[in-house]
């Protein structure tokens, strides 16, 4: 057992972890972050995406101790205004179906927009290519991001 300390959604937290504890398990089991979903357990689907020091990572293939001294943000830790803006775009554009992949997409999108506020469609698709979605066919997710990148973007026609 090792004690680690990190910032989780803006809060300083500590945890006792074993060497092999996965970050996703620590987040879900010790901190009740059930918004972090496990879809594959091998870092392929992106449902467990969190932001580690602002960068999207798959928490199912990280050890918990790798978060030590760093900041971890889940979808629940996004600033309210920012979350509601993303929510509005995703809901308005019909980018959500079963929703299991959605929190992971939201974080990849946030990371993209933080580093590149005006991405092209190609950049959008590349930025979310580590997040698999089996329901939407991705088109409406891309449209939601495009809406977010348009200054004062209006809800798009279907």
């Amino acid at each position: 057992m090792t004690t680690i300390a990190f910032s989780l959604n803006g809060r300083a937290v500590q945890a006792e972890v074993e060497a092999g504890t996965r970050l996703i398990d620590l987040l879900r089991e010790s901190f009740d972050c059930t918004e972090v979903k496990e879809g594959c357990g091998e870092g392929e689907c992106g449902a467990c995406t969190v932001l580690l020091d602002g960068r999207p990572v798959t928490s199912c293939v990280l050890f918990a101790w790798q978060a030590h001294g760093r900041t971890v943000v889940t979808v629940a830790g996004l600033p309210k205004q920012e979350l509601s803006r993303i929510q509005e775009a995703m809901v308005g554009q019909g980018a959500v179906q079963c929703g299991f992949c959605t929190p992971g997409f939201v974080l990849s999108i946030k990371a993209l927009l933080d580093s590149n506020p005006t991405p092209t469609r190609g950049e959008i698709l590349a930025a979310v290519s580590g997040n698999l979605c089996r329901c939407t066919g991705y088109e409406r997710i891309a449209r939601a991001v495009e809406q977010l990148t348009r200054q004062g973007g209006s809800p798009c026609a279907p």
Binding site: G41, G99, R140
Partner: protein, 794 residues
Amino acid sequence: MSDTSRLNVIGRPLPRVDALEKVDGKARYVDDYRIEGLVHCAMTLSPHPHAEVLSIRTDEALAVPGVLGVFTAPDVPVNQIGCVFQDQPLLAAERVRFVGDRVALVVAKTRDIARKAAALVKVDYRPLPSVHDAEEALKDVAPKLHAQGNLLAHQKIRFGDAAACLAACDVVVEHEFEVNYQEHAYLEPQGALAVPEAGGGVTIAGSMQCPFYVQSGVARALGLDRNRVRVEQAVTGGGFGGKEEYPSEVAALAALAALATGRPAKLVFSRAEDFQISTKRHRMRMRYKVGADREGKLQAIYVTQFVDSGGYAGLSTVVAERANTTAAGPYFFPNAHVDTFIVYTNNLLGGAFRGFGNPQVTFAIEGMMERLAARLGMDPVELRRKNLLSEGMPLICGQALPPSAPSRDVLDTLAQRSDFDRLRAEALEFNRTHRFRRKGVGLALSMYGCCLHAGGQHLEGSGALVQVRADGSVEVNIGGTELGQGAFTVVAQIAAETLGADYARVRVLPTDTRMVADSGPTVASRTTIMSGNAVRAASLQIRSRLVELAASMLGCPSREVEVGNGAYRQVPVDPPALRPEVSASAPSPVTIDHPSSTISQANVRFPDLCMEAFRRKLHLAASGWYAPPPKPWDKDTGQGIAYSVYCFTGNVAVVEVDLIGGLVKVEKVFAVHDVGQVLNPVTLEGQVHGGIVQGMGWALSENLVLDKGRCLNPGFTDYLIPSSLDMPQMDATFVEEPYPDGPFGAKGIGEPSLISVPTAVALAAGDACGQLPDRLPVTPETVLRWTAKDGNGQ
């Protein structure tokens, strides 16, 4: 019904009712349920495709600290499960019949401990010869999986005399097709939670499409009355058919653990387990023979096809019945002979998957149309047009195609919308000027029987409960489920439209067996029609009570009350000259002392009306029920009324093929769907986009590889579902010809969205390489074989 101009809610791009909590991560999927005293389950699975179980030793697993119990076959009260045939053990006793057959269930304090202990259950097997091909399994020398032999069922269509007709046809084309499995790859794996209840019984929450299947499946396996099994659907992370029959097994295992330990128990599959042991789209082999006259008029079709069921029956016969009944696609054949053999093998379990047997036969019949056109020297689109079924014409099951069948509109719209001839010309031009890349264009049509087949019509009734609260908010329960497809959104729209309520204040509650009568499964693209009609029926009952009330409040006859836009208003229907007499005899308008009341002489807002109804003790709840008319069906000849209504679909795909690496990139897919009536253009288009990309995956990159029944690529690393970078440009168009028995004229879309996509994509890939594909998926290896053969890319 086709006039939607007066509708306020139906047909509008309204936001989903369940989307906000999915974006912020608060929606609770089964693994997100937190409950005191929870224990976790893990399974011990057979590594053999076929073996005798000689002994099972559980002592080592039981000795692991944190393990509460290890359960095997004798612990299962009724160890014979199965949706149609009860040929499957919940935990295998004497024999295992596929890699992944369960032999033990371990229950422990944590999932980690349970999984580690499950690996310590020692099973002594005596391997038996196994069989991995449906046709091989039918031979005398093949090892027998079940007492009855390996032929699970033989389904037929006998229409006219196909054999005699073929012998006399001008042109006969014959070909064999084979398609591989497809894994659903819903992002949320299978999972269920079972909570033991005081007084006996169990409450289940889980990821599922069919709570009533789960209820009956759990009750059966655990030897309980169904009223002791309450099932609530958790928010479900995708299904696509994969959560039709299978969750009954998952829930029964969790329930077994819960009842045996007296604690809430959860079983959630790992992704690898989900790949190996849950159901797949069936692998099929199809031999087609089609005859036509010289002008291209189809005369006869003769089909022999084999459906690989895997180790147990599951829903294979039901899936196969769709392949059997729609083997001829959307075309008219005066003679048809179809033999569909459903066969046990030691492979993975086949089961329900979006399209349900139809995508397989669509690949075959459309491949035949291409081959026939080539033989006749005809344009393949023209050949299709010439033979398309239209309303009133007989299908191969003898049924006259019922109304709402705009097959020609679908084809014409598709050709126009995609500018098909120009696409083909562009591809030819591209291919003339490129050496290592080729473009190809493919077109495919399909016909899908909406709702359940005649063989399953006993499950067809569906219910709803609608309750209007005094403040004008509305609660809806349906027997159907939400798995991402948007069912809750369209039923909320139907309730809001019918009641005149505010759509934003309609809540659709999680599907719960306690709230609605057994409504059958959420499958077969039936939920909009079935649950939608049930919600409409319930809402209409409440509405008629509210209309009476509004009439008395407005002082007008009830026939003058019109509902819409959040209010009940008086719209005089009588000639003006007669009106004074009516008003003179009417009671004076009611005054409502509700603070927000805005009653005017001719208008009462829905919330005010509801408050007044509450005060007057009106019953503002109703249950609705919808069941379509009976469908007579003769199993021996495959003749009768197969489905209540049909949906027509067309897809055009444009691909670019890299001749050096063999990769096929889908550039564009056009989709035209006959949906009766559009209820919500956003959720509808979302279904079409999802179907296109999932269908494309099966056509190209999703190649499940089995070695003696063991899946060699049980995960997203090697089983490649399309990512955002694979997404083509998509164009969805809808043809509206209202279905008279659908809610506001609507039909289903869930499955039609996928069915002809794989074929259009595969034909396009073939077109680029000058080939006609007969295997799915078309992998890079296929492309390289093609190009090596004809010397392209040299």
